[in-house]
């Protein structure tokens, strides 16, 4: 790490360290200027990326024959391409998903910066599945900014260089005499040309490799400044198109009647013909986990699926409930190290309920499957895996399946999987018609992916003012990594700093979990119980639970050792960036200020993705607050003030980063206090947003502030998931201090079922008819 920072901060040493390797791009043969950069090879965030840190090139170093020969032979597949068009705009189809995280805005900023083009002249779209990109088309692990920061900038910088070279050639002047600004190349003589007017002349006629000089951070005018989202106007006018807003000829609404247990199967459908004759209905087809109906409107699909009479076969977890899963976890937990004599120890055990990663937009996909080809439209974070698996399921070659990535109304881990796209393809194939499939809200909660229940046991030993050991044994119902991350690990297994032959899950656990404190002998281990729930990541994988348990234990240790939680953390922290965000939080959040009984502050720290966050909250646990009444909602303790202090390395767009932190906070709040799934006899009981209590306006803090720390690096850290863990932890710690009781089961209201479950059959409830009575 020290070496990397050195290289990043000091161009000269970076150059010396990497010899002749430089950031490279290719001018492509195209009607107007197009520049490609290999993503994943020239500029990933690994050892190779360090080699690619830009440094001001000396003339003799710009490019040599050897470079040319090497590169001419290199494949030009796997490129991401910035194009400059005759209208003066630039465009880029980025191989990532946009699900609200602001990726497209950040990418547009990278292009605008290096190209010297106004931000509103940059258009960013989402690339279709591109199998040749291998695992470089995966949106997850808060990695997008880290992995495409250099490639995108490189392509844009090369485009700018090429535009300058083109103008210089036309004007018979030296390129060094030219400047660029706002999409115009200018010469001191007063001569100027817009990018649009140069775009054709600058185009390549054959692939031409070039070396590129990137801007120095001190010259940035776009990156690092707060910008609004590029899709904000579309969002507020209703013009932004999500999956179900796309019109594909012949693709009519489709929905599915589902079994009363997770992954149940169909034994018999008794009235398919009668249902097919219902108003507006065109087709009925039995599929793997249900019976699909297709019709003129989704409303008529709901009527039809409810009218189906189906005999169901068993699901995959029929006998399981919260209690049975918890017993399995407890019996599978790995043993703790037995402490030596004469040391004191603290033991604690925390359980975390199943949670739903469902976005607000229900899972949906459009599929048009023909005899020899298929076309899919869906929000997919790993479209290549979707393409391959859908092709297999349909019996088509992979290249016969076109997968379009559409913008998603949230993801939170859900769109790492392509369950709904595969199901839409199956339905379209069986019906022989294009379909627009939407899961119902209830489907999303009951049959969709979940973050599995887990148990974290922690033991810390201490003596003479020192913490001697810290052990954490995390036991979880199995998390499904079948979305491609597993393959990425397999292909890079030899390079990873983990020993032995761990499972995917153990590898990911080891790669993501660490303790930022000097707590002596530290061991953190994962064990998984194989259970066939539909699982996946949920805005991070293990960290929110692991960190919540850890930070609660830190407070316990501080208490036992007679120290203030902040003073104790300062004493034991080994991460200087965490120390800095902690200090800032203490100052801005007025740690230790006087509060009434039943109200308390809490602090939570977490570092991951090369970023660091401190969260400081104040929670009100007084009866008059806890017992507030909201129709069909849960109230309980309220966080009245919250502060997120974030060090995201180089914050590309501080305003976007603030938004990420705000979202992370509200997710952490939900995990700590209100939102969970209750599993009963093989299925979650939750079926609506008035059952699954994600944070609502009456829960969110009226005062939430985000402080973005000044840059601590040349590179952005991950941010999308970074803030959930510290927020969750801070709220849990505050709750413990306000009530005087250590919470050990999360969310804290999980023990009470605060709603009347919707019927399991039919699987989707009928829509109400009294909407006008509630108009306001």
């Amino acid at each position: 790490m020290a070496q990397k920072e050195h290289a990043a901060d000091n161009p000269r040493s970076a150059r010396e360290g990497v010899g002749r390797r430089r950031v490279l791009a290719y001018i492509l043969a195209a009607p107007t200027l197009a520049v490609g950069v290999r993503v994943g090879l020239d500029a990933v965030d690994g050892p190779v990326a360090e080699a690619a840190v830009p440094s001001p090139p000396q003339p003799e170093e710009l490019f040599d024959l050897g470079d040319m020969q090497n590169l001419a032979a290199a494949p030009t597949s796997g490129l991401i391409t910035v194009r400059v068009h005759s209208d003066g705009t630039a465009s880029l189809a980025v191989p990532r998903a946009e699900v609200g995280q602001g990726m497209t805005t950040a990418v547009a900023m990278m292009v605008a910066e290096e190209l010297d083009l106004p931000l509103d002249q940059v258009r960013v779209s989402l690339a279709d599945a591109r199998p040749e990109l291998l695992m470089n088309q995966l949106t997850g692990g808060s990695n997008s900014m880290r992995s495409i920061y250099l490639p995108v900038r490189t392509a844009a910088a090369a485009a700018r260089q090429r535009l300058i070279a083109t103008a210089a050639h036309q004007w018979r002047v030296e390129p060094s005499e030219l400047t660029t600004r706002d999409g115009v190349v200018a010469h001191g003589s007063g001569r100027s040309a817009s990018y649009g007017s140069l775009a054709e002349a600058a185009a390549g006629t054959a692939v031409l490799p070039v070396a590129v000089q990137l801007k120095d951070r001190s010259d940035f005018t776009v990156l690092g400044t707060s910008r609004n989202r590029i899709d904000a106007l579309a969002a507020v006018t209703g013009r932004k198109k999500f999956g179900m807003d796309h019109q594909v000829p012949g693709a009519k609404p489709a929905m599915v009647r589902r079994p009363p247990t997770v992954n149940g199967t169909v034994e018999a459908v008794h009235n398919a013909d009668a249902v097919r004759r219902m108003p507006g209905i065109t087709d009925v087809a039995t599929i793997r986990h249900g019976v699909a109906v297709r019709g003129e409107t989704f409303g008529q699909c709901i009527d039809a699926l409810r009218a189906l009479e189906v005999t169901w076969g068993p699901g995959t977890v029929d006998g399981e409930s919260d209690g049975t899963v918890l017993r399995r976890l407890k019996s599978a937990a790995l043993p703790m190290v037995v402490p030596p004599l004469l040391t004191k120890k603290i033991d604690a055990e925390f359980t975390f309920a199943f949670a739903s990663n469902s976005p607000l937009e229900p899972d949906n996909a459009i599929a048009d499957v023909r005899a020899d080809r298929a076309e899919i439209w869906a929000s997919l974070k790993v479209p290549i895996v979707a393409q391959r698996e859908i092709a297999n399921r349909l019996g088509l070659p992979q290249k016969a399946v076109t997968v379009h990535v559409v913008e998603g109304g949230g993801s939170f881990g859900r769109h790492l999987f392509h369950d709904v796209a595969a199901e839409a393809a199956e339905i379209s194939q069986k019906m022989g018609k294009p379909v627009k499939l939407s899961w119902s809200r209830t489907d999303n909660f009951r049959q969709g992916r979940t973050h599995p229940m887990c148990l974290s046991r922690v033991r810390a030993t201490y003596a003479l003012g020192q913490v001697l050991s810290y052990g954490q044994r995390h036991t979880s119902a199995q998390t499904d990594f079948g979305h491609g991350l597993g393959e990425m690990i397999t292909s890079t297994a030899a390079k990873l700093p983990v020993v032995g032959n761990p499972t995917f899950a153990e590898t990911i656990f080891q790669l993501t979990q660490s303790t930022p404190y000097d707590f002596g002998v530290t061991t953190q281990l994962l064990n998984e119980v194989p259970l066939k729930f539909n699982t996946g990541s949920m805005r991070n994988i293990y960290s929110p639970n692991v960190a919540c348990a850890r930070e609660l234990m830190v407070d316990q240790l501080a208490d036992r050792m007679g120290k203030d939680p902040v003073a104790f953390r300062r004493e034991f922290l080994k991460d200087r960036r965490l120390r800095a965000v902690l200090d800032k939080a203490v100052e801005v959040g007025e740690w230790g200020r006087s509060l009434p009984a039943g109200v308390a502050q809490g602090i939570g720290l977490h570092a991951e993705y090369r970023g660091a966050v401190a969260t400081l909250v104040e929670i009100d646990c007084r009866p008059e607050t806890v017992n507030r009444k909201v129709r069909d909602g849960v109230t309980g303790p309220r966080v009245t003030k919250a502060l997120m202090v974030v060090d995201a390395g180089f914050p590309i767009n501080p305003r976007g980063l603030e938004a990420q932190m705000m979202g992370c906070f509200n997710d952490g709040l939900a995990l700590a206090l209100t939102s969970s799934l209750h599993i009963k006899d093989g299925i979650p009981l939750e079926g609506s947003w008035d059952n699954y209590f994600y944070t609502r306006q009456w829960n969110t803090p009226p005062d939430l502030r985000v402080v973005v720390m000044p840059s601590t690096s040349d590179k952005p850290s991950g941010a999308g998931e970074l803030g959930v863990a510290p927020a969750f932890a801070a709220i849990a710690c505050a709750y413990a201090r306000a009530t005087g009781r250590l919470p050990t089961s999360f969310p804290i209201n999980h023990g009470t079922l605060a709603f009347e479950p919707l019927p399991l059959e039919p699987s989707t409830p009928q829509s109400p008819t009294d909407g006008l009575d509630r108009a306001f």
């Binding site: 989704f298 976005p359 609502r696």
Partner: protein, 158 residues
């Protein structure tokens, strides 16, 4: 098939649909008006919130037969026209504060916000935190703080 006539975003329209089809599907599937979003179909998430005669309501919970010819339905697409501008002040506030994340809930949030502010002003008062706490619209991205700030800012220009 029965036909239904009402005013939609300032224009009188007639559409053929079975009586019990909820207005949301008439708008989205038959008329191609996709600003109102489907988030639950249960009158819970509020993603489809639109206005009927100026009041906020959930089209997912109203059979089209309950909409009568004099009713004026306004979706997010028709909101700016209600003030005769390209954007409603609430939309401008939303842009100013860069509220949206994924954007899926935002049309419903804005339609709710406008109705909430009108409600408060009809009662002769400004919008307060207690009003904001009553808003039921889900924002699963969790941009609640910016929503609160934008409603207060937008209210000043309404």
């Amino acid at each position: 098939m029965p036909s239904h006539t009402f005013k939609l975003n300032g224009k009188r329209i007639t559409v053929e649909a079975e009586d019990n089809v909820r207005l949301l599907w008439v708008l989205r599937d038959l008329l191609g008006v996709t600003g109102p979003k489907y988030g639950c179909g249960l009158g819970v998430c509020q993603a489809c919130t639109s206005h009927i005669n100026g009041k906020a309501f959930n089209p997912c919970s109203v059979p089209v037969s309950k909409v009568v010819p004099d009713d004026e339905i306004t979706t997010i697409e028709g909101l700016p026209a209600t003030v005769g501008k390209d954007l409603h002040p609430m939309q401008e506030a939303w842009l100013e504060l860069d509220v949206a994340q994924c954007g899926y809930c935002q049309p419903g949030q804005i339609m709710t916000a406008v109705a909430k502010v009108r409600q408060a002003s009809a009662e002769g008062r400004e919008i307060e935190d207690a009003d904001l706490d009553e808003i039921r619209n889900i924002c699963r991205c969790g941009t609640y703080t910016r929503i609160r700030e934008a409603i207060k800012a937008g209210a000043k220009n309404m």
